[in-house]
Structures are given as structure tokens and as C-alpha cells.
């Protein structure tokens, strides 16, 4: 800056000269070059004009582009932005939709009313006014809250816009609203156990809401709903028939599962009594229990399907092998009887259709405890089955697996499993012998089928399937027939363990159905807890009279929805004859 002051000094001395910084020599040259410089400046002017023109073009382009975007390109973008805004309000939690895109769970904005007691003028008056528009509030308790020495108290959570407006109109000082997202289940009780519910902060606390927590956040961030394997129509049909059966047979509870035998997708899962996930705390904790996934049952005779499969697979017996069922057998301390004793030699297929405990026990004992264990293990009956529901329970497996256990397990006692695990085991029989893990995620059509672990040969599975078809055409499961859909199945009637023994009167009646027989696609498992006989069933509460007809009704209702072709009923008897003959 020293140079600067020198220059300014000079300038004051030779006032008119604008070029004082230069020496005389420079000035002279400058004069000489003036003409040349002038031409240069003129050329520069042309170039400046060119730059100006380029800018003008560029800015016109900006204007046109903005007009194009603002006026012509509008609708699609507006929708996208609104959808984005909504999903962001949801705090990133995706809607749950069924496999056909129907909404099962969504999130709505609600308004929660709070108060700052320090700013409330008169707690009594305020509480009184609030109760006029929110009658569910307790006036005395609200007033008490408004007197608390705090900066923040909740008054009412999750109000509707109408309620919010009503409170606004009161013009009360010291109260305000916070926007809170609330999980809403528009189908109320439908699939309530599968969906579960969220806590007040919107975090999953049971069912798929908990099991799929991270998936739901991930889908939510992408602004997409998350599909699950449930088919709402099938779910409704299953729940509806279970409810009817529960009422008809005065059952304590009921449970049902519908599963795709190839993909392992659970299409429906119902448990009664059920609850409204919109108000989970208003319901009985017992009603919130998902009996299809978390309750353990000794399944009874349905297990004989596994015993027969095991014996055939192991080669200890073929369909024509005979076993002496003429008198009860003693294994360890147990004596094993047949309920409808034939008191004669029975073939394997007769053991199955007549549901002989003696015959099953003998078959199982022949196979042996170790191989029985391994086989049931392979069918997923001795470990917790897969599936995204956190409630799915571990089975109850005896610690000591002696001969007595081998015998009782062969007809479904001594091992307690969930209906879901049972349905999955039946899926292995239905799909040609592979164990596929149950899942609540959608298997995209066209995607490769899950690689199941082979448990039995295709021949064995076909033989057991044929026996199961026989159970429906001429055995204990006749009431499960759904004309045209070729139901194959197995009844199971188990006495409930009570007071250290088994109760004769209190039964678990279940039916496992596979359909259609010629090309099996679905398993339907129906279970009734303590059904009572009616005059129509001649007082019987066994599976053949209660669970079997229910399963049959479910099949007749869901088969058309699932696109299963109705077969020509005339062709069926021959098919059965041919199979049993072979």
C-alpha cells in the first residue's frame, strides 16, 4: 500500500493525466499505439456482442425448459411427489398388502392432544370443555393432569381430524396437537394374528409387524407397500368356516392354515378367538395368541401319515404288508389299544384307513427310534419351523426317546407340534417328497421354486397321497370331500392331556387335507379345540364329524379362487382303483 499512496500523491500534482502510473516513454508509446488499440477494442466489442448473444440463447432455453416442466410435464410428477410426501410422513413404515395388493395394514396421520399445564388458565374449566367434545375422557382425571407441575402432559392420543377441529374450536389456551402416525388395519380382525400390531411409537410388537420390521422399513424408504404371502380371500374363507365350525361344535378355539405345497407360502392362517389389531389392548391376551403358530398340540392320528410314509420309505413294509392287530400290545408301561378294533391282521393301507394305533406302533417299532427321529426331523416336526412370525413355537419333544415313545409318537402322541409345522410336513407328502420351509413372503411367480430337502421318494409320497385319498373316498374323512377337487386327507382325534392323564371327553380334532389329489397344490389344516358333538353328528366330536367337514367346506370355497380346475368326478374311482392296485 506504500506504492498506492505514492501514486495518489502524484495524481494530485498532475491533475488531468489519467495515466500517471506510467513514465513519459510509456505514454508516448501509448499515443502511437492508439489507433491499433482502437481497432483491438472494436474487435473486442464484436466478441462481447457474440458472448451476449450466446447468453441470450441460453437464457431463452432456460425459460422454455422451465415453462415446459411447469406447464406440460405436470400430472405424473405431482402424483409421485404426493406419494413421496405421504410415505415420508409414515416414518418409513411400509403398508402391508396381501399377495394381490389388497391393503392389510397402513399408516394414517392422527392428531394427539397434549397440554402445557403451566399455560392452562383453569384446569377444571379446560377439562370440562374438553369432555364436551371428547366424551371418552374422564373429567376429573383430565383436570388432575392439567394441574400437574410439568411442561407436557398427554390428554388424548390419535384423534381424528374432526375431533381435532372440535378441540380447536374450543379455543383453549395451553393445549396443542402433535401429528402422530398410527398403524391402521382396515380389515380389523381378518388375519389379525398374522399381521400382529405395533406399539404406540409405531414399532412392530407382534406378528409380521415385528417379524418383518426391517423389511417394512426398507420398503417404506422406497415408498412401496410390502406384499406378504397371505391371500385375503382365502384368509376370509378359512376364518369364516372356522368361525362357523367353532359355533356349531361349541369349540373353545380353532386354528387353520392354508399353504402352497411347492413354495411354502402361507396363503391363510387363522386362529380363533381373534382380536382387533386396531385396539390390541382392549382384547383378552388369550385371544391374541396365534394358535396356528404358537400353540402346541399332540396331533393324534394325522401323524400316522408320517409313520406310513416312513415305513414305506424305509422299505420295512409295502402297501400289502400285514400286521397283527388282533390284540392290544404292551410297550414298556403302556398298553396300546385300537378304538375301533378290528381284532385281525391288517394291511398297511387298512392300518391307515382304519387308523389302527396297534398297527402304527408295530410299523414304527420295526423302523426303530433313531430312524423315526431322523424322519420326523426331516419333516420339520422336531425343530421350530421357519417363517417370519416371531410367535412360531418350538415343538415339545421328549428327552428320552425309548420304545414307548416310538410307539406313541407313531400315532401322534408324545410329541406336541404347531399346526403350522404339521401343515408343512403334509406339504412334503403333497409335493413329491421334499421339505419346503413355510414363509410369509411372496414367492414371485416365475421365480425358481425353493430347493427343498428330499425326505422321501416321489413313489412313497404318491402312495401315501393315494392312501389319504382313500381316507376321504371310503374312510374316516368322507365328510371332507369337496366334489371335483379330489381332497386327500387324514383325520386326527387326540385326547387332551389333562390332570396328568388324558381326558376322554376333551378332544383336539384336526384334519389335514391336500388337494387336488392328481396334482397337489395346497394343504389345508383345520384344528378344533374341544369341539362338542351335536345331534347332527350323533354326539360325536371326533375329527371325521367336525374337522373333516370344515376342511371340506374350506376347500370348496377356496379352490375356485385359487384357480384349481374342477375334475370330472367320473374319472376318479378308476384312478383310485388303479393306484391302490399298484
Amino acid at each position: 500500500m506504500i506504492g498506492g499512496s505514492r501514486v495518489r500523491l502524484l495524481r494530485r500534482e498532475d491533475a488531468p493525466a489519467p495515466l500517471t502510473e506510467r513514465t513519459a516513454v510509456h505514454t508516448a508509446r501509448r499515443v502511437a499505439l492508439r489507433d491499433e488499440e482502437k481497432t483491438a477494442i472494436e474487435a473486442g466489442r464484436g466478441r462481447i456482442a457474440a458472448v451476449g448473444l450466446a447468453f441470450a440463447l441460453g437464457f431463452v432455453m432456460l425459460g422454455l425448459r422451465a415453462a415446459d416442466l411447469a406447464l406440460l410435464d405436470k400430472p405424473a410428477q405431482a402424483v409421485a411427489a404426493v406419494a413421496e410426501a405421504e410415505s415420508a410422513k409414515r416414518g418409513g413404515r411400509a403398508d402391508i398388502v396381501d399377495r394381490n395388493g389388497e391393503i392389510l395394514a397402513t399408516t394414517l396421520d392422527t392428531h394427539s392432544l397434549y397440554a402445557d399445564p403451566r399455560k392452562v388458565w383453569d384446569a377444571g374449566e379446560t377439562a370440562k370443555a374438553l369432555v364436551t367434545v371428547l366424551p371418552e375422557l374422564n373429567e376429573a382425571r383430565t383436570a388432575e393432569r392439567l394441574r400437574e407441575r410439568r411442561a407436557f402432559v398427554w390428554i388424548a392420543r390419535n384423534l381424528t381430524p374432526t375431533q381435532r377441529q372440535a378441540v380447536f374450536s374450543l379455543g383453549l389456551p395451553g393445549v396443542g396437537f402433535i401429528r402422530e402416525p398410527k398403524r391402521v388395519y382396515p380389515r380389523t380382525r381378518l388375519a389379525s394374528h398374522v399381521l400382529g400390531f405395533t406399539d404406540i411409537d409405531g414399532e412392530g410388537s407382534s406378528g409380521l409387524e415385528l417379524g418383518l420390521e426391517s423389511d417394512l422399513r426398507e420398503y417404506g424408504e422406497r415408498g412401496r407397500p410390502m406384499p406378504v404371502s397371505i391371500d385375503m380371500r382365502v384368509q376370509f374363507a378359512l376364518a369364516d368356516e372356522l368361525r362357523a365350525a367353532q359355533a356349531e361344535f361349541s369349540a373353545l378355539a380353532a386354528a387353520g392354515v392354508v399353504m402352497d405345497v411347492k413354495t411354502g407360502e402361507v396363503l391363510a392362517m387363522a386362529s380363533l378367538p381373534d382380536f382387533d389389531p386396531n385396539r390390541p389392548t382392549d382384547s383378552d391376551p388369550d385371544a391374541r395368541r396365534n394358535r396356528a403358530a404358537s400353540s402346541l398340540y399332540e396331533m393324534g392320528s394325522t401323524f400316522k401319515a408320517f409313520t406310513v410314509a416312513m415305513a414305506l420309505e424305509d422299505g420295512v413294509a409295502d402297501l400289502e404288508s400285514g400286521y397283527d392287530a388282533s390284540k392290544p400290545i404292551k410297550v414298556g408301561n403302556h398298553v396300546i389299544h385300537d378304538y375301533h378294533a378290528e381284532n385281525r391282521w391288517l394291511t398297511v393301507s387298512e392300518i391307515f384307513t382304519h387308523s389302527s394305533n396297534i398297527g402304527s406302533s408295530k410299523m414304527a417299532l420295526e423302523v426303530g427310534a433313531d430312524r423315526q427321529r431322523a424322519f420326523l426331523e426331516g419333516l420339520g416336526l422336531l425343530t421350530r419351523p421357519a417363517g417370519e412370525l416371531p410367535e412360531i413355537a418350538d415343538p415339545l419333544v421328549p428327552q428320552h426317546w425309548g420304545e414307548a415313545t416310538t410307539a406313541t409318537v407313531s400315532f401322534g402322541h408324545g410329541v406336541a407340534v404347531t399346526p403350522l409345522a404339521t401343515a408343512s410336513a403334509f406339504a412334503s407328502i403333497a409335493n413329491g417328497g421334499k421339505y419346503v420351509q413355510p414363509t410369509f413372503k411372496v414367492h414371485p411367480p416365475g421365480r425358481e421354486l425353493p430347493e427343498g430337502k428330499r425326505i422321501m421318494s416321489a413313489t412313497t409320497s404318491q402312495n401315501v397321497l393315494d392312501l389319504m385319498r382313500q381316507v376321504v373316498t371310503e374312510g374316516t374323512g368322507r365328510k371332507a370331500e369337496a366334489p371335483g377337487y379330489q381332497v386327500a386327507g387324514k383325520t386326527g382325534t387326540a385326547e387332551k392331556p389333562k390332570n396328568g392323564g388324558y381326558s376322554r371327553k376333551d378332544l383336539i380334532s384336526s384334519f389335514a387335507a391336500i388337494f387336488p389329489h392328481d396334482e397337489p397344490r395346497y394343504v389345508v389344516l383345520v384344528l378344533l379345540d374341544e369341539p362338542r358333538g351335536t345331534p347332527e353328528t350323533f354326539g360325536y366330536a371326533t375329527a371325521g364329524w367336525t374337522a373333516a367337514p370344515t376342511a371340506g367346506k374350506v376347500v370348496s370355497r377356496i379352490a375356485p379362487m385359487l384357480g384349481v380346475d374342477r375334475a370330472n368326478p367320473d374319472s376318479e374311482p378308476q384312478l383310485i382303483a388303479a393306484n391302490t392296485g399298484g
Binding site: 498506492g4 501514486v7 489519467p18 502510473e21 508509446r29 501509448r30 499505439l33 488499440e37 483491438a40 477494442i41 474487435a43 473486442g44 466489442r45 466478441r47 462481447i48 456482442a49 458472448v51 451476449g52 447468453f55 441470450a56 441460453g58 437464457f59 432455453m61 432456460l62 425459460g63 425448459r65 422451465a66 415453462a67 416442466l69 411447469a70 406447464l71 410435464d73 405436470k74 410428477q77 405431482a78 409421485a80 411427489a81 404426493v82 413421496e84 410426501a85 415420508a88
Partner: protein
């Protein structure tokens, strides 16, 4: 208008009658619009960043705008020589500080462009641009005048030094802006066409090299050319905002997109304006920058003194190009650059640097005896 007599010879009156009042008014209007838009964008930005005071950014914006206006007015009172000296000082300071960011800078979003002190962060590279343009204009003018010193070569060395500093940060957007402005200045300085063409070719090669050397440049260009290839989140939101705005906009405060745009208050303020105030606001902002360019180039066209002519044209180019690139990014005409909208975007360094540019431009274009061509 303020009543100031033409015969008043005070320093203020002299300044008032000689300064380009259209340009000054346009700058003032742009600063006011920026503050207005900050009202819309500030609460959304504060909310996004979980800052309790919704007007955190608004207060700071107002503070920067005030300082910026003062800086602009102060610089506009300089004479050309004074302006040149200030520019030289700023250039040296900015180069030193930019070099310092490489050693002690704060990394933000993958680039170390910031120096932090006393609660404020400064991006010194912003100040490189106007300073380099003024100095380069002077050097080119000297070269043309036939000075003994190799002025043009010095200009190139300074340019390369600045560009190297920018690329080390890395700041590809500023590099493009500075290169374009410098190249245009070189062209305006009457350099032969062939050299200009050579410089252009080199710039193209440099861009191609940047594509291969800097992953973030490659990713941005890829996403621009093929939106499916990656995350075009900000751009998509910006386009939605313009689309939602329509002709008249959704109304003040009614914008939704600003809640999802991470850079709504800075690089994408134009989109916020589009959504809330519509196409009319877009055209107004674009038009005001058009006025700046028109007035700036008009003065440059008429200036007789080569240095003043080049400096005025160069500074105008700098403002115009930066506005153009920013708006073009908002409208998805060019790949994202990370460049602010002069006067309007939130950001202290950007606001001050813009004010320096504007102040120097006002200083260059003031009417002084003999500097303008006589109008015929």
C-alpha cells in the same frame, strides 16, 4: 428515488450519479428474493437437520445478506485501480486459504472446501473466481498494450494454479465455471481464434480426464445421461417441484418437495421457488439475471479502457454463467455441479463472494469522464 442533486459534489452523490443504478437495483432485488425464499426453505432445512430454531438459516441468511450488501457497496466505490488492487489482495489471500483447506480443511460431503473458525465456515475458493477474473483481465489488457512483461503467460500460470487448487479439493463444478469464464475472457481479450479453439479443446480433454479420474464426476455424468443407472434423487425431486408449481405455484409455504431435498436451501433453491411461486418466479429470477448480463455486457461494450472492458465483461460472465449453470442443473439440462445460485442460495461464502463480484462489477462500470465511448 432518493433526492440527490446532480450538483452535489459529495463523495456519496458522486458515487450515486456514476454507478449503474439499474444493475445496483437488480442486485438488490435478487438479494431480497433470496431472503424471501429463505423464509420458505429455512424451516424445512432446519427441520431436516433437526435444528430446533426453524429460522436458524433465515437469521444467518439475513446476516450474510447484510454483510454482502455492505461489501458490495464498499467495493463499488473503488476506482478501477483500487478495484484491481483489492482483487490482487483477495486473489493472494484466497489462494493461500484454499491451499490451507487442503491441510486443515473440514470435509463436507466428500470434499475439503471449508475452513472453520469462530462458528463460521468459509469456502475460500469462492473468492478465487472474481479475483482471478479481474487480475486476468488486467494482465490480458497489459499484454495487448504491449507491456514488456509476459502478462498473458502470468495470467495462465495464475489460472493453472487456481484450477489445480480447485481440483485438489476436489471441486469440479467451480473448475468448469472458472475455466469457462477464463476462456471467454481470453477470447474477449482479442486473442487469436486458433488459440481460443486450442484452449476449448484442452478444456474438453480436461473434462474427459475428469470423468475418468474423479469417480463422483463420472457418477454424476452417468446418472445424467442414463437416469436408471443410479440415484437421481435430488434431481427427480427438483423436477417434481417445478412440475408441481405450475404457472402460479402452490403458494408461499405450501411447498412439499423442500422437505425432501437435502440441498433445498442452497443448490436447489430455484426448485423451491418454482414449487411455491410457480413458473412466474422462475422467469422473474432468470429474467433478473438476464438484466445483469445485459447491463454488464452493455457497459463492457461501451468501455474504452481495455482493462475495465475485460474486467466488466469477465465479472458479468462469471455471475451469468454461475446462474445459468445452477438453473440448468435445477431444470436437469446439465449434470449436477454443486453450484449455488448467486445472491439467492443460502451460504455465507457464496453470498460474500457474489457480493465481491457484484461490487467489483459496479466499480468497473461506473461512469467516469472518458471511459465510455461517446454515444452517437
Amino acid at each position: 428515488m432518493i433526492a440527490i442533486s446532480r450538483t452535489d459534489r459529495s463523495a456519496f452523490a458522486e458515487w450515486w450519479w456514476s454507478v449503474d443504478r439499474v444493475l445496483l437495483g437488480t442486485f438488490g432485488l435478487l438479494i431480497a428474493i433470496g431472503f424471501l425464499l429463505s423464509l420458505a426453505a429455512s424451516p424445512a432445512a432446519a427441520d431436516r437437520l433437526s435444528i430446533t430454531d426453524p429460522f436458524h438459516f433465515l437469521y444467518r441468511h439475513g446476516f450474510y445478506a447484510g454483510i454482502g450488501a455492505a461489501v458490495m457497496l464498499a467495493l463499488s466505490s473503488l476506482d478501477p485501480r483500487g478495484a484491481r488492487r483489492v482483487a490482487a489482495l483477495i486473489l493472494l489471500g484466497a489462494m493461500a486459504l484454499t491451499a490451507a483447506t487442503l491441510v486443515m480443511g473440514v470435509e463436507v460431503k466428500g470434499a475439503t472446501r471449508w475452513l472453520r473458525f469462530a462458528g463460521f465456515s468459509l469456502q475460500p475458493s469462492e473468492f478465487l473466481k472474481p479475483a482471478l477474473i479481474v487480475i486476468a483481465g488486467w494482465l490480458f489488457a497489459e499484454q495487448r498494450r504491449g507491456t514488456a512483461a509476459p502478462a498473458a503467460i502470468i495470467a495462465f500460470v495464475l489460472y493453472l494454479a487456481c484450477v489445480t487448487l480447485l481440483l485438489l479439493q476436489p471441486d469440479f463444478g467451480q473448475t468448469v465455471l472458472l475455466t469457462t469464464a477464463f476462456g471467454a475472457l481470453f477470447f474477449l481479450a482479442g486473442m487469436p481464434w486458433i488459440w481460443t479453439a486450442a484452449l476449448g479443446a484442452m478444456a474438453l480433454m480436461g473434462s474427459a480426464a475428469a470423468y475418468f479420474v474423479f469417480p463422483h464426476v463420472a457418477s454424476r455424468v452417468d446418472r445424467f445421461l442414463n437416469p436408471e443407472s443410479g440415484d437421481t434423487y435430488q434431481i427427480d425431486r427438483a423436477l417434481e417441484a417445478v412440475g408441481r408449481g405450475g404457472l402460479f405455484g402452490r403458494g408461499p409455504g405450501e411447498g412439499e418437495v423442500k422437505h425432501f431435498l437435502p440441498d433445498a436451501h442452497t443448490d436447489f433453491i430455484f426448485a423451491v421457488a418454482a414449487e411455491e411461486f410457480g413458473l412466474l418466479a422462475c422467469l422473474l429470477i432468470t429474467g433478473l439475471f438476464g438484466v445483469v448480463i445485459w447491463r454488464g455486457l452493455r457497459s463492457a461494450l461501451r468501455l474504452n479502457e481495455p482493462f475495465m472492458q475485460l474486467a466488466a465483461a469477465g465479472l458479468t460472465l462469471l455471475l451469468g454463467l454461475q446462474a445459468f449453470i445452477n438453473i440448468a442443473v435445477n431444470l436437469h439440462l446439465v449434470p449436477p455441479k454443486g453450484m449455488t445460485l448467486p445472491f439467492i442460495s443460502y451460504g455465507g461464502s457464496s453470498m460474500l463472494a457474489t457480493s465481491v463480484t457484484a461490487g467489483l462489477l459496479l466499480a468497473m462500470t461506473r461512469r467516469r469522464p472518458g471511459v465510455y465511448e461517446r454515444s452517437s
